[in-house]
Symmetry: C2
Subunit: 330 residues, 2 copies
Protein backbone atom coordinates (compact mmCIF):
# COMPACT_ATOMS: atom_id res chain seq x y z
CA UNK A 1 0.00 0.00 0.00
CA UNK A 2 1.08 3.55 -0.78
CA UNK A 3 3.11 5.33 1.92
CA UNK A 4 2.45 2.53 4.35
CA UNK A 5 4.84 0.69 6.62
CA UNK A 6 3.12 -2.46 7.79
CA UNK A 7 5.69 -3.17 10.47
CA UNK A 8 5.33 0.29 11.90
CA UNK A 9 1.54 0.06 11.78
CA UNK A 10 1.48 -3.26 13.62
CA UNK A 11 3.98 -1.96 16.18
CA UNK A 12 1.74 1.03 16.92
CA UNK A 13 -1.32 -1.16 17.22
CA UNK A 14 0.51 -3.45 19.64
CA UNK A 15 1.64 -0.43 21.67
CA UNK A 16 -2.06 0.45 21.86
CA UNK A 17 -3.04 -3.00 23.11
CA UNK A 18 -0.19 -2.89 25.63
CA UNK A 19 -1.73 0.16 27.33
CA UNK A 20 -4.64 -1.85 28.66
CA UNK A 21 -3.11 -2.88 32.00
CA UNK A 22 -1.93 0.60 32.92
CA UNK A 23 -5.27 2.19 31.98
CA UNK A 24 -7.33 -0.36 33.90
CA UNK A 25 -5.16 0.31 36.94
CA UNK A 26 -5.78 4.07 36.68
CA UNK A 27 -9.53 3.78 36.04
CA UNK A 28 -10.00 1.20 38.79
CA UNK A 29 -8.20 3.44 41.27
CA UNK A 30 -10.44 6.37 40.33
CA UNK A 31 -13.54 4.21 40.63
CA UNK A 32 -12.45 3.02 44.07
CA UNK A 33 -11.97 6.63 45.17
CA UNK A 34 -15.22 7.70 43.50
CA UNK A 35 -15.90 10.50 41.06
CA UNK A 36 -18.77 12.78 40.05
CA UNK A 37 -18.50 12.84 36.26
CA UNK A 38 -16.16 12.58 33.27
CA UNK A 39 -14.92 15.52 31.22
CA UNK A 40 -13.43 14.69 27.81
CA UNK A 41 -11.56 17.88 27.01
CA UNK A 42 -9.73 18.53 23.76
CA UNK A 43 -9.39 20.95 20.90
CA UNK A 44 -9.66 20.39 17.17
CA UNK A 45 -8.86 16.77 16.41
CA UNK A 46 -8.57 15.70 20.04
CA UNK A 47 -11.92 17.34 20.85
CA UNK A 48 -13.47 15.40 18.00
CA UNK A 49 -12.00 12.04 19.02
CA UNK A 50 -12.86 12.51 22.69
CA UNK A 51 -16.39 13.60 21.83
CA UNK A 52 -16.82 10.27 20.03
CA UNK A 53 -16.10 8.54 23.35
CA UNK A 54 -18.52 10.89 25.07
CA UNK A 55 -21.18 10.02 22.52
CA UNK A 56 -20.73 6.30 23.17
CA UNK A 57 -20.93 6.79 26.93
CA UNK A 58 -23.96 9.06 26.96
CA UNK A 59 -25.92 6.66 24.77
CA UNK A 60 -24.86 3.49 26.62
CA UNK A 61 -24.19 4.39 30.22
CA UNK A 62 -25.61 6.31 33.16
CA UNK A 63 -22.15 7.78 33.83
CA UNK A 64 -22.45 11.55 33.68
CA UNK A 65 -20.14 12.58 30.85
CA UNK A 66 -19.33 15.85 29.11
CA UNK A 67 -17.31 16.69 26.01
CA UNK A 68 -15.77 20.14 26.16
CA UNK A 69 -13.79 22.17 23.69
CA UNK A 70 -10.74 23.21 25.74
CA UNK A 71 -10.80 26.92 24.89
CA UNK A 72 -14.54 27.21 25.66
CA UNK A 73 -14.07 25.23 28.88
CA UNK A 74 -11.33 27.60 29.99
CA UNK A 75 -13.32 30.71 29.06
CA UNK A 76 -16.90 29.89 29.99
CA UNK A 77 -16.55 26.84 32.21
CA UNK A 78 -19.13 24.22 33.05
CA UNK A 79 -20.86 24.33 36.43
CA UNK A 80 -21.02 20.52 36.52
CA UNK A 81 -17.26 20.52 36.83
CA UNK A 82 -15.99 20.08 40.38
CA UNK A 83 -13.11 18.61 42.35
CA UNK A 84 -14.60 15.14 41.96
CA UNK A 85 -14.65 15.35 38.17
CA UNK A 86 -12.25 13.28 36.10
CA UNK A 87 -10.72 14.91 33.03
CA UNK A 88 -9.40 12.91 30.10
CA UNK A 89 -7.06 14.62 27.66
CA UNK A 90 -4.78 13.45 24.89
CA UNK A 91 -1.99 15.34 23.20
CA UNK A 92 0.89 14.07 21.10
CA UNK A 93 3.11 17.12 21.56
CA UNK A 94 2.07 17.78 25.14
CA UNK A 95 2.27 21.53 24.54
CA UNK A 96 -1.15 22.35 23.05
CA UNK A 97 -1.86 25.75 24.55
CA UNK A 98 -5.62 25.41 25.09
CA UNK A 99 -5.40 21.93 26.57
CA UNK A 100 -2.65 23.00 28.95
CA UNK A 101 -4.83 25.87 30.17
CA UNK A 102 -7.83 23.56 30.68
CA UNK A 103 -5.65 21.12 32.65
CA UNK A 104 -4.29 23.97 34.77
CA UNK A 105 -7.86 25.00 35.66
CA UNK A 106 -8.87 21.41 36.34
CA UNK A 107 -5.91 20.73 38.61
CA UNK A 108 -6.43 24.02 40.44
CA UNK A 109 -9.99 22.92 41.16
CA UNK A 110 -8.59 19.70 42.61
CA UNK A 111 -9.87 17.44 39.85
CA UNK A 112 -7.99 14.39 38.63
CA UNK A 113 -6.68 14.37 35.08
CA UNK A 114 -5.83 11.31 32.99
CA UNK A 115 -3.37 12.52 30.35
CA UNK A 116 -2.28 10.57 27.30
CA UNK A 117 0.82 12.36 26.09
CA UNK A 118 3.56 11.60 23.60
CA UNK A 119 6.22 12.27 26.18
CA UNK A 120 5.97 12.64 29.94
CA UNK A 121 8.71 15.25 29.79
CA UNK A 122 6.35 18.00 28.59
CA UNK A 123 4.24 20.64 30.38
CA UNK A 124 1.19 18.36 30.07
CA UNK A 125 3.04 15.24 31.06
CA UNK A 126 4.19 17.03 34.20
CA UNK A 127 0.86 18.53 35.19
CA UNK A 128 -1.67 15.73 34.87
CA UNK A 129 -2.54 13.38 37.74
CA UNK A 130 -2.23 10.17 35.76
CA UNK A 131 0.23 10.55 32.88
CA UNK A 132 0.18 7.73 30.36
CA UNK A 133 2.97 7.95 27.81
CA UNK A 134 2.04 6.84 24.32
CA UNK A 135 2.55 7.91 20.76
CA UNK A 136 -0.35 7.23 18.40
CA UNK A 137 -2.55 4.18 19.00
CA UNK A 138 -5.21 6.78 19.47
CA UNK A 139 -8.35 4.79 19.93
CA UNK A 140 -7.01 1.90 22.00
CA UNK A 141 -6.31 4.17 24.94
CA UNK A 142 -9.61 6.00 24.60
CA UNK A 143 -11.60 2.77 24.31
CA UNK A 144 -9.91 1.15 27.28
CA UNK A 145 -10.64 4.26 29.31
CA UNK A 146 -14.28 4.70 28.28
CA UNK A 147 -15.24 1.06 28.50
CA UNK A 148 -13.41 0.39 31.75
CA UNK A 149 -15.35 3.25 33.35
CA UNK A 150 -18.56 1.79 31.91
CA UNK A 151 -17.63 -1.68 33.15
CA UNK A 152 -16.97 -0.40 36.66
CA UNK A 153 -20.30 1.44 36.57
CA UNK A 154 -22.04 -1.83 35.75
CA UNK A 155 -23.03 -0.66 32.28
CA UNK A 156 -20.72 -2.86 30.22
CA UNK A 157 -20.55 -6.38 31.67
CA UNK A 158 -19.13 -7.62 28.34
CA UNK A 159 -15.85 -5.81 29.06
CA UNK A 160 -13.61 -8.86 29.37
CA UNK A 161 -14.88 -10.37 26.14
CA UNK A 162 -14.64 -7.00 24.39
CA UNK A 163 -11.03 -6.30 25.31
CA UNK A 164 -10.11 -9.86 24.44
CA UNK A 165 -11.61 -9.39 20.99
CA UNK A 166 -9.82 -6.05 20.64
CA UNK A 167 -6.61 -8.10 20.38
CA UNK A 168 -7.85 -9.17 16.97
CA UNK A 169 -8.09 -5.57 15.80
CA UNK A 170 -4.56 -4.97 14.53
CA UNK A 171 -4.94 -7.80 12.03
CA UNK A 172 -8.59 -7.01 11.23
CA UNK A 173 -7.87 -3.32 10.68
CA UNK A 174 -4.87 -4.08 8.49
CA UNK A 175 -7.05 -6.29 6.33
CA UNK A 176 -9.77 -3.60 6.13
CA UNK A 177 -7.17 -1.05 5.04
CA UNK A 178 -5.87 -3.36 2.35
CA UNK A 179 -9.37 -3.97 1.07
CA UNK A 180 -10.31 -0.29 1.09
CA UNK A 181 -7.04 0.92 -0.43
CA UNK A 182 -8.06 0.65 -4.12
CA UNK A 183 -11.28 2.57 -3.39
CA UNK A 184 -9.26 5.20 -1.53
CA UNK A 185 -7.00 5.60 -4.54
CA UNK A 186 -9.99 5.84 -6.86
CA UNK A 187 -11.58 8.49 -4.65
CA UNK A 188 -8.40 10.57 -4.56
CA UNK A 189 -7.99 10.38 -8.32
CA UNK A 190 -11.62 11.22 -9.05
CA UNK A 191 -12.26 13.84 -6.37
CA UNK A 192 -8.92 14.95 -4.98
CA UNK A 193 -9.07 18.27 -6.78
CA UNK A 194 -12.73 19.14 -6.07
CA UNK A 195 -13.15 22.79 -5.04
CA UNK A 196 -15.37 21.90 -2.06
CA UNK A 197 -16.17 18.65 -0.27
CA UNK A 198 -19.19 18.03 1.96
CA UNK A 199 -18.88 15.38 4.65
CA UNK A 200 -21.67 13.72 6.58
CA UNK A 201 -21.76 11.33 9.49
CA UNK A 202 -23.88 10.55 12.54
CA UNK A 203 -23.74 8.97 15.96
CA UNK A 204 -20.24 7.91 16.99
CA UNK A 205 -18.96 8.86 13.52
CA UNK A 206 -20.21 12.45 13.53
CA UNK A 207 -17.11 13.48 15.49
CA UNK A 208 -14.93 11.83 12.87
CA UNK A 209 -16.68 13.48 9.91
CA UNK A 210 -16.08 16.80 11.72
CA UNK A 211 -12.47 15.84 12.36
CA UNK A 212 -11.58 14.49 8.95
CA UNK A 213 -13.00 17.64 7.34
CA UNK A 214 -11.15 20.05 9.59
CA UNK A 215 -8.01 18.30 10.76
CA UNK A 216 -7.13 16.33 7.65
CA UNK A 217 -8.73 17.83 4.54
CA UNK A 218 -8.50 21.45 5.69
CA UNK A 219 -5.36 21.39 7.81
CA UNK A 220 -3.26 18.83 5.98
CA UNK A 221 -4.54 19.20 2.41
CA UNK A 222 -5.95 22.77 2.26
CA UNK A 223 -9.15 21.33 0.79
CA UNK A 224 -12.31 23.35 1.38
CA UNK A 225 -14.88 21.38 3.34
CA UNK A 226 -18.11 21.51 5.24
CA UNK A 227 -19.01 18.70 7.61
CA UNK A 228 -22.59 18.33 8.73
CA UNK A 229 -24.36 15.77 10.89
CA UNK A 230 -26.47 13.47 8.72
CA UNK A 231 -29.61 14.50 10.62
CA UNK A 232 -28.84 18.19 10.47
CA UNK A 233 -28.08 17.91 6.76
CA UNK A 234 -31.80 18.02 6.02
CA UNK A 235 -32.17 21.41 7.68
CA UNK A 236 -30.10 23.63 5.46
CA UNK A 237 -27.11 22.06 3.75
CA UNK A 238 -29.22 19.89 1.44
CA UNK A 239 -30.10 23.00 -0.59
CA UNK A 240 -26.48 23.29 -1.75
CA UNK A 241 -26.24 19.80 -3.19
CA UNK A 242 -26.79 19.34 -6.90
CA UNK A 243 -25.12 17.52 -9.74
CA UNK A 244 -21.36 17.98 -9.59
CA UNK A 245 -21.15 18.65 -5.84
CA UNK A 246 -18.75 16.30 -4.04
CA UNK A 247 -19.99 14.51 -0.92
CA UNK A 248 -18.31 11.98 1.36
CA UNK A 249 -20.57 9.96 3.66
CA UNK A 250 -19.09 8.16 6.68
CA UNK A 251 -21.37 5.27 7.49
CA UNK A 252 -20.98 3.18 10.63
CA UNK A 253 -22.90 0.51 12.48
CA UNK A 254 -24.20 2.14 15.61
CA UNK A 255 -27.77 3.20 16.46
CA UNK A 256 -27.52 6.32 14.28
CA UNK A 257 -26.93 4.39 11.05
CA UNK A 258 -30.48 5.20 9.82
CA UNK A 259 -29.69 8.93 9.88
CA UNK A 260 -26.87 8.52 7.38
CA UNK A 261 -28.90 5.99 5.39
CA UNK A 262 -31.61 8.61 4.91
CA UNK A 263 -29.12 11.25 3.83
CA UNK A 264 -27.43 8.81 1.42
CA UNK A 265 -30.75 7.90 -0.19
CA UNK A 266 -31.44 11.60 -0.75
CA UNK A 267 -27.93 12.33 -1.99
CA UNK A 268 -28.07 9.54 -4.55
CA UNK A 269 -30.94 11.42 -6.18
CA UNK A 270 -29.31 14.83 -6.36
CA UNK A 271 -25.56 14.44 -6.90
CA UNK A 272 -23.44 12.23 -9.13
CA UNK A 273 -20.43 12.67 -6.83
CA UNK A 274 -21.34 10.74 -3.70
CA UNK A 275 -18.84 8.43 -2.03
CA UNK A 276 -20.03 6.28 0.86
CA UNK A 277 -17.46 4.68 3.13
CA UNK A 278 -19.23 2.00 5.12
CA UNK A 279 -17.57 0.10 7.96
CA UNK A 280 -20.04 -2.73 7.33
CA UNK A 281 -18.15 -3.68 4.18
CA UNK A 282 -15.22 -5.03 6.23
CA UNK A 283 -15.20 -8.44 7.89
CA UNK A 284 -13.29 -7.61 11.09
CA UNK A 285 -12.49 -11.22 11.79
CA UNK A 286 -12.71 -12.13 15.45
CA UNK A 287 -15.06 -9.28 16.36
CA UNK A 288 -18.56 -10.21 17.53
CA UNK A 289 -21.49 -8.55 15.75
CA UNK A 290 -22.62 -6.77 18.94
CA UNK A 291 -19.29 -4.91 19.18
CA UNK A 292 -19.12 -3.71 15.57
CA UNK A 293 -21.20 -0.59 16.19
CA UNK A 294 -19.05 0.74 19.00
CA UNK A 295 -15.91 -0.01 16.97
CA UNK A 296 -16.95 2.02 13.91
CA UNK A 297 -14.76 5.00 14.93
CA UNK A 298 -11.64 2.78 14.97
CA UNK A 299 -12.45 1.26 11.60
CA UNK A 300 -13.30 4.57 9.89
CA UNK A 301 -10.12 6.15 11.25
CA UNK A 302 -8.00 3.45 9.67
CA UNK A 303 -9.85 3.50 6.34
CA UNK A 304 -9.49 7.26 6.10
CA UNK A 305 -5.76 7.05 6.73
CA UNK A 306 -5.61 5.30 3.36
CA UNK A 307 -7.59 8.07 1.70
CA UNK A 308 -5.29 10.74 3.16
CA UNK A 309 -2.21 9.05 1.73
CA UNK A 310 -3.73 8.88 -1.74
CA UNK A 311 -4.91 12.50 -1.57
CA UNK A 312 -1.39 13.53 -0.62
CA UNK A 313 -0.08 11.72 -3.67
CA UNK A 314 -2.68 12.91 -6.18
CA UNK A 315 -2.55 16.51 -4.96
CA UNK A 316 1.25 16.57 -4.56
CA UNK A 317 0.60 18.20 -1.21
CA UNK A 318 2.51 16.67 1.74
CA UNK A 319 0.25 15.98 4.71
CA UNK A 320 2.77 17.72 6.97
CA UNK A 321 2.70 21.06 5.15
CA UNK A 322 1.28 23.98 7.16
CA UNK A 323 0.84 27.60 6.21
CA UNK A 324 0.23 28.94 9.72
CA UNK A 325 -0.29 26.21 12.31
CA UNK A 326 2.65 26.11 14.70
CA UNK A 327 4.57 28.17 12.15
CA UNK A 328 3.18 31.59 13.02
CA UNK A 329 2.56 32.88 16.53
CA UNK A 330 -1.00 34.00 17.23
CA UNK B 1 -35.22 49.93 6.41
CA UNK B 2 -35.38 47.50 3.51
CA UNK B 3 -38.14 44.84 3.70
CA UNK B 4 -38.94 45.83 7.23
CA UNK B 5 -42.29 46.50 8.83
CA UNK B 6 -41.66 48.31 12.10
CA UNK B 7 -45.21 47.85 13.35
CA UNK B 8 -45.05 44.12 12.74
CA UNK B 9 -41.63 43.89 14.38
CA UNK B 10 -42.82 45.71 17.50
CA UNK B 11 -45.98 43.60 17.63
CA UNK B 12 -43.90 40.40 17.56
CA UNK B 13 -41.58 41.69 20.25
CA UNK B 14 -44.56 42.58 22.45
CA UNK B 15 -46.03 39.14 21.88
CA UNK B 16 -42.70 37.79 23.12
CA UNK B 17 -42.82 39.91 26.27
CA UNK B 18 -46.43 38.85 26.85
CA UNK B 19 -45.37 35.19 27.15
CA UNK B 20 -43.64 35.82 30.44
CA UNK B 21 -46.56 35.13 32.76
CA UNK B 22 -47.53 31.87 31.12
CA UNK B 23 -43.96 30.59 31.01
CA UNK B 24 -43.28 31.47 34.65
CA UNK B 25 -46.42 29.57 35.59
CA UNK B 26 -45.28 26.47 33.69
CA UNK B 27 -41.70 26.57 34.99
CA UNK B 28 -42.80 27.23 38.56
CA UNK B 29 -45.16 24.28 38.44
CA UNK B 30 -42.39 22.02 37.15
CA UNK B 31 -40.02 23.26 39.83
CA UNK B 32 -42.62 22.60 42.53
CA UNK B 33 -43.05 19.05 41.24
CA UNK B 34 -39.30 18.60 40.87
CA UNK B 35 -37.29 17.46 37.85
CA UNK B 36 -34.01 15.69 37.16
CA UNK B 37 -32.62 17.65 34.24
CA UNK B 38 -33.43 19.77 31.17
CA UNK B 39 -33.28 18.53 27.59
CA UNK B 40 -33.26 21.21 24.89
CA UNK B 41 -34.16 19.19 21.80
CA UNK B 42 -34.32 20.59 18.29
CA UNK B 43 -33.09 20.12 14.77
CA UNK B 44 -31.33 22.52 12.43
CA UNK B 45 -32.19 26.07 13.45
CA UNK B 46 -34.12 25.09 16.56
CA UNK B 47 -31.28 22.84 17.72
CA UNK B 48 -28.93 25.78 17.29
CA UNK B 49 -31.11 28.25 19.20
CA UNK B 50 -31.87 25.81 22.00
CA UNK B 51 -28.21 24.89 22.31
CA UNK B 52 -27.47 28.58 22.93
CA UNK B 53 -29.75 28.37 25.98
CA UNK B 54 -28.03 25.17 27.06
CA UNK B 55 -24.67 26.91 26.77
CA UNK B 56 -25.83 29.76 29.00
CA UNK B 57 -27.22 27.35 31.60
CA UNK B 58 -24.22 25.04 31.73
CA UNK B 59 -21.84 27.94 32.20
CA UNK B 60 -23.99 29.77 34.80
CA UNK B 61 -26.02 27.20 36.68
CA UNK B 62 -25.77 23.86 38.45
CA UNK B 63 -28.95 22.72 36.68
CA UNK B 64 -28.13 19.60 34.71
CA UNK B 65 -28.84 20.52 31.10
CA UNK B 66 -28.40 18.78 27.75
CA UNK B 67 -28.76 19.98 24.17
CA UNK B 68 -29.75 17.20 21.82
CA UNK B 69 -30.21 17.05 18.09
CA UNK B 70 -33.68 15.49 17.72
CA UNK B 71 -32.77 12.80 15.18
CA UNK B 72 -29.73 11.68 17.20
CA UNK B 73 -31.78 11.72 20.40
CA UNK B 74 -34.40 9.50 18.80
CA UNK B 75 -31.81 7.10 17.33
CA UNK B 76 -29.11 6.84 19.98
CA UNK B 77 -30.80 8.28 23.07
CA UNK B 78 -29.19 9.70 26.16
CA UNK B 79 -29.06 7.62 29.32
CA UNK B 80 -29.47 10.73 31.46
CA UNK B 81 -32.96 11.06 30.09
CA UNK B 82 -35.69 9.72 32.37
CA UNK B 83 -39.29 10.31 33.36
CA UNK B 84 -38.24 13.24 35.53
CA UNK B 85 -36.53 15.04 32.67
CA UNK B 86 -38.05 18.19 31.19
CA UNK B 87 -37.89 18.63 27.43
CA UNK B 88 -38.07 22.04 25.77
CA UNK B 89 -38.88 22.17 22.06
CA UNK B 90 -39.88 24.92 19.67
CA UNK B 91 -41.41 24.58 16.21
CA UNK B 92 -43.24 27.15 14.12
CA UNK B 93 -45.04 24.62 11.91
CA UNK B 94 -45.53 22.03 14.64
CA UNK B 95 -44.98 19.23 12.14
CA UNK B 96 -41.20 18.88 12.09
CA UNK B 97 -40.75 15.13 11.71
CA UNK B 98 -37.66 14.65 13.86
CA UNK B 99 -38.96 16.81 16.70
CA UNK B 100 -42.30 15.01 16.72
CA UNK B 101 -40.49 11.71 17.04
CA UNK B 102 -38.33 12.98 19.90
CA UNK B 103 -41.43 14.27 21.70
CA UNK B 104 -43.20 10.94 21.20
CA UNK B 105 -40.26 9.15 22.83
CA UNK B 106 -40.12 11.66 25.65
CA UNK B 107 -43.84 11.42 26.40
CA UNK B 108 -43.72 7.65 26.24
CA UNK B 109 -40.99 7.71 28.87
CA UNK B 110 -43.28 9.84 31.01
CA UNK B 111 -41.25 13.02 30.74
CA UNK B 112 -42.82 16.48 30.64
CA UNK B 113 -42.44 18.55 27.47
CA UNK B 114 -42.72 22.31 27.17
CA UNK B 115 -43.63 23.01 23.56
CA UNK B 116 -43.54 26.40 21.87
CA UNK B 117 -45.55 25.93 18.70
CA UNK B 118 -47.03 28.26 16.13
CA UNK B 119 -50.42 26.67 16.50
CA UNK B 120 -51.79 24.35 19.18
CA UNK B 121 -53.82 22.58 16.51
CA UNK B 122 -50.83 20.59 15.19
CA UNK B 123 -49.36 17.17 16.04
CA UNK B 124 -46.80 18.83 18.30
CA UNK B 125 -49.31 21.19 19.86
CA UNK B 126 -51.44 18.19 20.77
CA UNK B 127 -48.70 15.97 22.12
CA UNK B 128 -46.66 18.17 24.46
CA UNK B 129 -47.43 18.52 28.16
CA UNK B 130 -47.28 22.27 28.27
CA UNK B 131 -48.18 23.80 24.91
CA UNK B 132 -47.43 27.49 24.55
CA UNK B 133 -48.78 29.02 21.37
CA UNK B 134 -46.60 31.65 19.80
CA UNK B 135 -45.38 32.70 16.39
CA UNK B 136 -41.88 34.14 16.26
CA UNK B 137 -40.57 36.10 19.25
CA UNK B 138 -38.05 33.32 19.38
CA UNK B 139 -35.70 34.35 22.11
CA UNK B 140 -38.17 35.85 24.59
CA UNK B 141 -39.76 32.50 25.25
CA UNK B 142 -36.43 30.71 25.46
CA UNK B 143 -34.94 33.33 27.79
CA UNK B 144 -37.94 33.33 30.11
CA UNK B 145 -37.76 29.55 30.25
CA UNK B 146 -34.01 29.26 30.84
CA UNK B 147 -33.70 32.08 33.32
CA UNK B 148 -36.83 31.15 35.28
CA UNK B 149 -35.40 27.67 35.78
CA UNK B 150 -32.11 29.25 36.86
CA UNK B 151 -33.92 31.63 39.20
CA UNK B 152 -35.85 28.79 40.82
CA UNK B 153 -32.60 26.86 41.22
CA UNK B 154 -31.12 29.80 43.09
CA UNK B 155 -28.61 30.51 40.35
CA UNK B 156 -30.05 33.75 39.01
CA UNK B 157 -31.28 35.98 41.84
CA UNK B 158 -31.29 38.94 39.46
CA UNK B 159 -34.28 37.48 37.61
CA UNK B 160 -36.82 40.19 38.48
CA UNK B 161 -34.48 42.97 37.44
CA UNK B 162 -33.51 41.09 34.29
CA UNK B 163 -37.04 40.47 33.03
CA UNK B 164 -37.97 44.06 33.88
CA UNK B 165 -35.08 45.27 31.74
CA UNK B 166 -36.09 42.89 28.96
CA UNK B 167 -39.11 45.15 28.48
CA UNK B 168 -36.68 47.70 27.06
CA UNK B 169 -35.49 45.25 24.43
CA UNK B 170 -38.02 45.88 21.65
CA UNK B 171 -36.98 49.54 21.49
CA UNK B 172 -33.28 48.80 22.04
CA UNK B 173 -33.20 46.07 19.38
CA UNK B 174 -35.04 48.26 16.88
CA UNK B 175 -32.46 50.97 17.41
CA UNK B 176 -29.60 48.47 17.00
CA UNK B 177 -31.10 47.23 13.75
CA UNK B 178 -31.41 50.77 12.44
CA UNK B 179 -27.81 51.49 13.33
CA UNK B 180 -26.51 48.27 11.81
CA UNK B 181 -28.62 48.45 8.64
CA UNK B 182 -26.15 50.50 6.53
CA UNK B 183 -23.36 48.07 7.42
CA UNK B 184 -25.61 45.15 6.53
CA UNK B 185 -26.29 46.70 3.14
CA UNK B 186 -22.60 47.33 2.63
CA UNK B 187 -21.78 43.74 3.52
CA UNK B 188 -24.38 42.36 1.12
CA UNK B 189 -23.15 44.55 -1.71
CA UNK B 190 -19.49 43.76 -1.13
CA UNK B 191 -19.73 40.05 -0.27
CA UNK B 192 -23.18 38.81 -1.26
CA UNK B 193 -21.82 36.96 -4.27
CA UNK B 194 -18.76 35.38 -2.64
CA UNK B 195 -18.35 31.70 -3.60
CA UNK B 196 -17.77 30.60 -0.01
CA UNK B 197 -18.24 32.29 3.35
CA UNK B 198 -16.58 31.24 6.62
CA UNK B 199 -18.38 32.11 9.85
CA UNK B 200 -16.90 32.12 13.33
CA UNK B 201 -18.39 32.58 16.77
CA UNK B 202 -17.91 31.35 20.32
CA UNK B 203 -19.72 30.89 23.62
CA UNK B 204 -23.42 31.70 23.42
CA UNK B 205 -22.95 32.90 19.81
CA UNK B 206 -21.38 29.71 18.47
CA UNK B 207 -24.86 28.24 18.03
CA UNK B 208 -25.87 31.28 16.06
CA UNK B 209 -22.84 31.22 13.75
CA UNK B 210 -23.71 27.56 13.08
CA UNK B 211 -27.36 28.48 12.50
CA UNK B 212 -26.83 31.55 10.35
CA UNK B 213 -24.49 29.55 8.12
CA UNK B 214 -26.79 26.58 7.68
CA UNK B 215 -30.34 27.86 8.12
CA UNK B 216 -30.03 31.26 6.50
CA UNK B 217 -27.06 31.42 4.12
CA UNK B 218 -27.30 27.80 2.95
CA UNK B 219 -31.02 27.14 3.20
CA UNK B 220 -32.43 30.54 2.28
CA UNK B 221 -29.71 31.93 0.03
CA UNK B 222 -27.92 28.83 -1.32
CA UNK B 223 -24.62 30.40 -0.29
CA UNK B 224 -21.79 27.99 0.45
CA UNK B 225 -20.60 28.27 4.03
CA UNK B 226 -18.52 26.74 6.74
CA UNK B 227 -19.09 27.74 10.35
CA UNK B 228 -16.43 26.99 12.89
CA UNK B 229 -16.11 27.76 16.58
CA UNK B 230 -13.57 30.55 17.10
CA UNK B 231 -11.45 28.30 19.30
CA UNK B 232 -11.61 25.37 16.92
CA UNK B 233 -10.73 27.67 14.03
CA UNK B 234 -7.06 27.47 15.02
CA UNK B 235 -7.00 23.71 14.62
CA UNK B 236 -7.61 23.28 10.92
CA UNK B 237 -9.75 25.88 9.21
CA UNK B 238 -7.15 28.63 9.56
CA UNK B 239 -5.08 26.98 6.82
CA UNK B 240 -7.78 27.82 4.25
CA UNK B 241 -7.84 31.54 4.93
CA UNK B 242 -5.83 33.81 2.70
CA UNK B 243 -6.31 37.05 0.82
CA UNK B 244 -9.70 37.08 -0.91
CA UNK B 245 -11.41 34.58 1.40
CA UNK B 246 -14.62 35.92 2.91
CA UNK B 247 -15.09 35.63 6.69
CA UNK B 248 -17.91 36.77 8.96
CA UNK B 249 -17.14 36.96 12.68
CA UNK B 250 -19.98 37.07 15.21
CA UNK B 251 -18.67 38.78 18.31
CA UNK B 252 -20.65 38.94 21.54
CA UNK B 253 -20.06 39.97 25.13
CA UNK B 254 -20.02 36.76 27.15
CA UNK B 255 -17.08 34.96 28.72
CA UNK B 256 -15.95 33.53 25.38
CA UNK B 257 -15.35 36.92 23.78
CA UNK B 258 -11.54 36.42 23.97
CA UNK B 259 -11.79 33.35 21.71
CA UNK B 260 -13.28 35.38 18.87
CA UNK B 261 -10.96 38.31 19.62
CA UNK B 262 -8.00 35.99 19.07
CA UNK B 263 -9.41 34.67 15.80
CA UNK B 264 -10.20 38.20 14.59
CA UNK B 265 -6.64 39.37 15.32
CA UNK B 266 -5.32 36.47 13.27
CA UNK B 267 -7.83 36.96 10.45
CA UNK B 268 -6.95 40.64 10.13
CA UNK B 269 -3.45 39.53 9.18
CA UNK B 270 -4.39 37.00 6.55
CA UNK B 271 -7.55 38.09 4.72
CA UNK B 272 -8.76 41.40 3.34
CA UNK B 273 -12.38 40.20 3.51
CA UNK B 274 -13.17 40.07 7.20
CA UNK B 275 -16.43 41.46 8.57
CA UNK B 276 -16.88 41.60 12.34
CA UNK B 277 -20.37 42.08 13.74
CA UNK B 278 -19.98 43.05 17.37
CA UNK B 279 -22.93 43.37 19.76
CA UNK B 280 -20.82 45.74 21.84
CA UNK B 281 -21.27 48.45 19.21
CA UNK B 282 -24.93 48.88 20.17
CA UNK B 283 -26.11 50.91 23.16
CA UNK B 284 -29.09 48.76 24.27
CA UNK B 285 -30.58 51.54 26.35
CA UNK B 286 -32.09 50.32 29.59
CA UNK B 287 -29.98 47.16 29.76
CA UNK B 288 -27.47 46.87 32.62
CA UNK B 289 -23.88 46.03 31.69
CA UNK B 290 -24.04 42.72 33.59
CA UNK B 291 -26.85 41.47 31.35
CA UNK B 292 -25.31 42.37 28.01
CA UNK B 293 -23.32 39.15 27.70
CA UNK B 294 -26.28 36.84 28.15
CA UNK B 295 -28.30 38.94 25.70
CA UNK B 296 -25.79 38.71 22.83
CA UNK B 297 -27.81 35.96 21.07
CA UNK B 298 -30.89 38.20 20.93
CA UNK B 299 -28.92 41.16 19.61
CA UNK B 300 -27.01 39.17 16.98
CA UNK B 301 -30.22 37.52 15.78
CA UNK B 302 -31.78 40.91 15.12
CA UNK B 303 -28.69 42.36 13.46
CA UNK B 304 -28.42 39.39 11.13
CA UNK B 305 -32.06 39.74 10.10
CA UNK B 306 -30.96 43.00 8.49
CA UNK B 307 -28.13 41.27 6.68
CA UNK B 308 -30.46 38.56 5.36
CA UNK B 309 -32.81 41.13 3.87
CA UNK B 310 -29.97 42.90 2.08
CA UNK B 311 -28.54 39.63 0.81
CA UNK B 312 -31.95 38.69 -0.58
CA UNK B 313 -32.06 42.02 -2.41
CA UNK B 314 -28.50 42.00 -3.74
CA UNK B 315 -28.67 38.34 -4.81
CA UNK B 316 -32.24 38.58 -6.19
CA UNK B 317 -32.87 35.36 -4.30
CA UNK B 318 -36.04 35.31 -2.15
CA UNK B 319 -35.39 34.06 1.37
CA UNK B 320 -38.39 31.73 1.04
CA UNK B 321 -37.10 29.86 -2.04
CA UNK B 322 -36.32 26.18 -1.50
CA UNK B 323 -35.05 23.56 -3.89
CA UNK B 324 -35.83 20.52 -1.76
CA UNK B 325 -36.84 21.38 1.79
CA UNK B 326 -40.51 20.58 2.33
CA UNK B 327 -40.87 20.42 -1.45
CA UNK B 328 -39.53 16.92 -2.00
CA UNK B 329 -40.31 13.93 0.18
CA UNK B 330 -37.29 12.16 1.63
Amino acid sequence: MLSFDEKEFMAEELRGLALRGKIEEVVDEICREGYSNLFWIGIGGTYAYLSQMHHIIKSHSRILSFAEEAAEFAAAGNKQFDKNSVVIITSVTGDTKEVNEAVRIAREAGARVIGFVGSLDTPLGQSVTYPVACVGALFYKLYYTAFRFMYQAGDFPEYEQFVKEMEKLPQALLKAKEEFDPAAEKYAEAHGMEPLTYLIGAGNLWGYAYCYAMCVLEECQWIRTKAVNSGEFFHGTLELIEKGVNVLAFQGEDESRPLTDRAVRFLERVTDKLTVIDTRDYALEGISPEFRGILSPMVMYQLCERMSKHLEEVRKHPLELRRYYRRLSY
